[in-house]
């Protein structure tokens, strides 16, 4: 019974996003494409933070590993978009493996600080290799390189419709894959680790290996979001590696509801529009982010979907 509801809900969300592109005005059409890519970033973060219970303050490094992993070869070596996308994900997953092996030796507060520092190292590295990355200024990928060729078909990724559809495709694949992962045994083990790591270990699970898998999957998904962002929006800059982009996915996930499959989308969408609307009145959007974080953690620690699950919809995955 609950299985059907879950499948229906997720299919419904994807269908709704698909249909929305025909009715939305141009501006919101573009916003939604961007939000879907950023929601994938948040979903990647959610695997580690929501399900495995590991609070990382350095996920900007995985997003920017995807961003640079795709953007640099495309820009300098003229790789195709498909190869660039793959290299972006590979870069993110490889980085996640190394970071996971090191950072998972620590727990709690030390884990947050270590991930933050590794992210800072990557941020500084983008400046050190400024001759290739152009640091803060960033690279703008030229339009003729942003074409996806499948056989004889050519898709121009700068075209709004193609862009929306690509973002939706990535979002749907990641959403459904994550739904399967969190309902599979590995997902249950991650939740068990979050709730009580000692006991999970005593039951015979290799908690380190499971956490490492979570870090790599999380890093890979975030990198996929970064690579797609570079290809769709054509900008690769050091801003995306800064601390701020490690905090934002945390905010989105907290707002939407940690450990819910659809929470990241809800949180990202909501926060994007809050910032978008307030920046019409004031430039103080950082204030909005700050106040939102404090209010959330004080009064609403489970987020929107987390609260709904607790009160009305216990079957929500």
């Amino acid at each position: 019974m609950s299985d059907k509801r879950i499948v229906a809900l997720h299919a419904g969300v994807i269908l709704l996003l698909f249909l929305l592109q025909f009715v939305l005005p141009d501006y919101h059409h573009g916003v939604l494409a961007r939000v879907m890519v950023l929601a994938v970033f948040a979903m990647g973060y959610n695997i580690l933070f929501g399900y495995a219970g590991l609070l990382s303050l350095g996920h900007a490094m995985f997003f920017s590993a995807g961003l640079y992993g795709a953007g640099l070869p495309l820009y300098h070596l003229d790789w195709g978009t498909a190869a660039a996308f793959t290299s972006g994900i590979a870069a993110g997953a490889a980085l996640a493996l190394v970071i996971g092996l090191l950072a998972l030796r620590t727990t709690g507060v030390a884990f947050m600080i270590v991930t933050m520092m590794f992210a800072q190292v990557l941020y500084l590295t983008t400046f050190y290799f400024g001759s290739w990355t152009r640091g803060d200024e960033g690279l703008v990928l030229p339009q003729q390189q942003r074409v996806l060729s499948l056989g004889t078909m050519h898709f121009d990724l700068t075209d709004p419709t193609v862009r929306y559809f690509t973002a939706l495709l990535l979002f749907s694949i990641v959403l459904l894959a994550l739904l399967m992962v969190v309902r599979a045994p590995i997902g249950r083990v991650l939740v068990a680790i979050r709730e009580n790591e000692e006991r999970t270990r005593m039951l015979g699970y290799d908690t380190f290996a499971n956490k490492l898998i979570a870090v790599v999957v999380s890093g890979g998904v975030c990198a996929a979001a970064g690579a797609t962002y570079a290809l769709l929006f054509g900008y690769v800059g050091a801003t995306f590696a800064s601390v701020q982009y490690s905090i934002l996915p945390l905010l989105w996930v907290l707002l939407g509801g940690a450990a819910t499959t659809l929470g990241p989308l809800v949180g990202t969408l909501f926060m994007y529009y809050v910032v978008d609307i307030t920046s019409g009145f004031t430039t103080a959007w950082l204030l909005v982010v700050g106040v939102a974080l404090i209010l959330l953690v004080l009064f609403f620690p489970k987020g929107i979907l987390g609260t709904m699950r607790e009160k009305w919809l216990p079957w929500l995955p």
Binding site: V109, V114, M116, F118, V121, V243, I294
Partner: protein, 293 residues
């Protein structure tokens, strides 16, 4: 300049950095040691201290020392009051849960930064040093004010050490750090101790900022680098260890001064950050710390 004097100059610059860093990191370390709270907004208390120092010194005309002295009193008090307010309104309600407090202090960071940008503006503004005496070495002249920073910082650190180890107040703080529940059972007002420690930590950061602002100007984004450096210092020194914090601050400050005098600063920062992250990975209690209870 020959290598020897160049090295001396780099070491002096490094010592000035160390002096300021030690004060700031001590604040972070106290808050972590006693409350087990990682205060991500610590860098913003530092920035706020510098901005308030500019504001206070601009109120006074006449000799620059008057404005500076006013800043030295006003700035830590205001920052301490703000920290106290944040502690009462936010951290206490979260029951000092480590993850929730990190998220909350990140929020605080953004709020303070944005308010500083809105009301103070994006410009970097200088505060005049209280005196402009130059100490003449055989090879170069050096700002007497910078040397006095080292002295003042040493004085403040000694005072903190004295309070922590030789007074009743320090005893209460150490008892709370050692075991919160037993301390409470012995009638120690743990809530008040926490509030006091959080305010004290912020005041130390503000003091450090007032000392540095005649050299480096007040700017609304100045908090991030010192925050990361203080994290580094606190980690290397061992979380919650005063002696370790001071030793690590001198170590980091000196090497920062010397490395950035001879090598490219970005590379130096990359290597330093990476090394510290690895120290934390392989020696989680730092070089001088004892196991976290």
């Amino acid at each position: 300049m020959a290598f020897g004097p160049h090295l001396l100059l780099a070491a002096l610059e490094g010592l000035v950095t160390s002096a300021v860093l030690a004060l700031m990191a001590l604040g972070l370390s106290l808050v972590f040691g006693v409350m087990r709270v990682v205060n991500v907004a610590h860098g913003e208390f530092f920035m706020l201290g510098a901005v308030l120092a500019w504001w206070a010194s601009s109120l006074v005309t006449g000799h620059p020392a008057l404005g500076f002295l006013l800043a030295l009193v006003v700035s830590p008090l205001v920052v301490g009051a703000i920290a106290l307010l944040a502690e009462r309104l936010v951290l206490r309600r979260l029951d000092y849960n480590p993850e929730a407090t990190i998220v909350a202090t990140i929020g605080l960071l953004y709020i303070i930064q944005q308010l500083a940008l809105t009301f103070y503006g994006p410009d970097a503004r200088p505060v005049q040093a209280p005196f402009s005496y130059r100490v003449l070495f055989p090879w170069f002249g050096y700002s007497g004010y910078k040397l006095s920073i080292i002295a003042v910082s040493a004085l403040l650190l000694t005072a903190t050490w004295f309070v922590l180890t030789r007074t009743r107040l320090g005893l209460v703080m150490r008892a709370t750090q050692y075991d919160r529940e037993i301390a409470q059972a012995f009638g120690i007002p743990v809530g008040k101790v926490y509030a006091g420690v959080f305010a004290l930590g912020a005041m130390l950061a503000a003091l450090a900022a007032v000392l540095i602002v005649p050299i480096s100007q007040a700017h609304y984004l100045m908090g991030l680098d010192p925050l990361l450096l203080s994290f580094i210092v606190v980690i290397i020194g061992g979380l919650g260890s005063l002696r370790g914090t001071v030793v690590a601050a001198v170590l980091i400050g000196l090497s920062d001064g010397i490395i950035s005098a001879f090598f490219q600063p970005t590379l130096a920062k990359i290597i330093a950050t990476l090394l510290v992250a690895l120290v934390l990975v392989f020696r989680p209690t730092g070089l001088f710390g004892t196991a976290v209870r």
